[in-house]
């Protein structure tokens, strides 16, 4: 009881346990940042973007950590935030690119229709990653969550606020589209 009383007096935090969800900034960061880096990198194909977005996501977490859940819900929240930040980042990047193209009177490359080799990026990303980036965002996100994080359809549905059936359809469509794009590679 005194231990509990002291714990109450001393405040938050606690010893990390095997079955205990991570608590406190450091533990949460160590637990979930590898996952976020992986997801964001796969969504953007760029290392720098992953660094910037994951940092922003954890700053948001740091600022709101008192009101956020500490269980699995936190993981879902972090992934949702990272995804939204990625979408905003990509939109901003698209706007900047279009503005530059207007300035230099160069036509914008069509990301959707372009062949793999048309997609240019500052980083040397593999063909599979390039093909992944050509998928529409709603298909890409679901496929990345399925293939690179191992979440079940139900979990992905919870994260993205869509039904499990919808996840199933999107994963299937994403794979079908990816198969078309990779036909020349596979």
């Amino acid at each position: 009881m005194v231990h509990a009383l002291l714990f109450f007096m001393v405040g938050e935090g606690g010893p990390p346990g095997a079955n205990k969800p991570p608590q406190g900034f450091s533990e949460v960061y160590e637990a979930w940042s590898p996952l976020l880096f992986r997801i964001v990198y796969r969504m953007t194909g760029r290392r720098e973007a992953a660094e910037e977005i994951v940092q922003e996501a954890f700053i948001k977490y740091y600022e709101r950590r008192d009101v956020l859940p500490t269980d699995e819900g936190l993981k879902y929240w972090l992934i949702r935030v990272a995804r939204n930040l990625t979408l905003n980042h990509e939109k901003r990047r698209g706007r900047e690119r279009r503005a530059l193209e207007r300035v230099f009177h160069e036509p914008a490359p069509k990301a959707e229709k372009g062949a793999l080799e048309k997609l240019t990026d500052s980083e040397a990303v593999g063909d599979v990653q390039k093909a992944l980036l050509l998928l529409p965002e709603n298909l890409r996100t679901v496929l990345i969550l399925k293939e690179y994080t191992g979440f079940a359809y139900a979990e992905i549905g919870k994260m993205l606020n869509i039904t499990e059936g919808n996840v199933k359809v999107r994963v299937f469509r994403a794979r079908a589209r990816l198969a078309q794009l990779l036909k020349e590679v596979l």
Partner: protein, 147 residues
């Protein structure tokens, strides 16, 4: 092959088709090479995605963590106290409470009837308006003395 069937194969490859439907998918695959081909196509995609290289983020992760911790307003890093500290605190509490109780018992062992009246002479220079001859009647608990 219909799209709905292809979707079932896709879900089956993800381990998302439950029994008994999973057995039915297996049976279909035994009977129909088209289903097998579809499954192989999904497996190839999965393998391609899995083999796609990924940068090592361990250094970047530490850099980002250090940046966040350095720039955000620091709050008290609070952790659960060790058990020995709790035990020591409990023992100290017991000692203090027990000692206080014992001392209290020794000093306040006054019978309930031991209420005395104390007559105090108050100098008139104080300017107090008192009844009678400036005597103040006080009731006090005086040990072993009664009126």
């Amino acid at each position: 092959m219909k799209d709905i069937e292809r979707m079932v194969v896709s879900a089956y490859e993800d381990g998302e088709v439950e029994f008994p439907w999973s057995d039915r998918v297996l049976k279909k695959m035994e009977e129909n090479p088209e289903w097998v081909a579809e499954a192989q196509s999904h497996r190839r995609i999965k393998a391609a995605l899995a083999s796609s290289p990924e940068p090592d983020f361990s250094e970047v992760r530490q850099r980002v963590k250090a940046r966040i911790e350095a720039h955000l307003p620091r709050r008290r890093r609070l952790t659960l106290p060790p058990v020995w500290m709790s035990v020591a605190a409990a023992a100290a509490l017991v000692l203090v409470a027990g000692g206080g109780f014992w001392v209290g018992r020794q000093t306040v062992a006054t019978p309930p009837s031991a209420v005395a009246e104390l007559q105090v002479q108050v100098p008139k220079t104080l300017g107090l308006k008192l009844s009678g001859e400036g005597q103040l009647l006080m009731a006090s608990t005086l040990q072993g003395k009664s009126r």
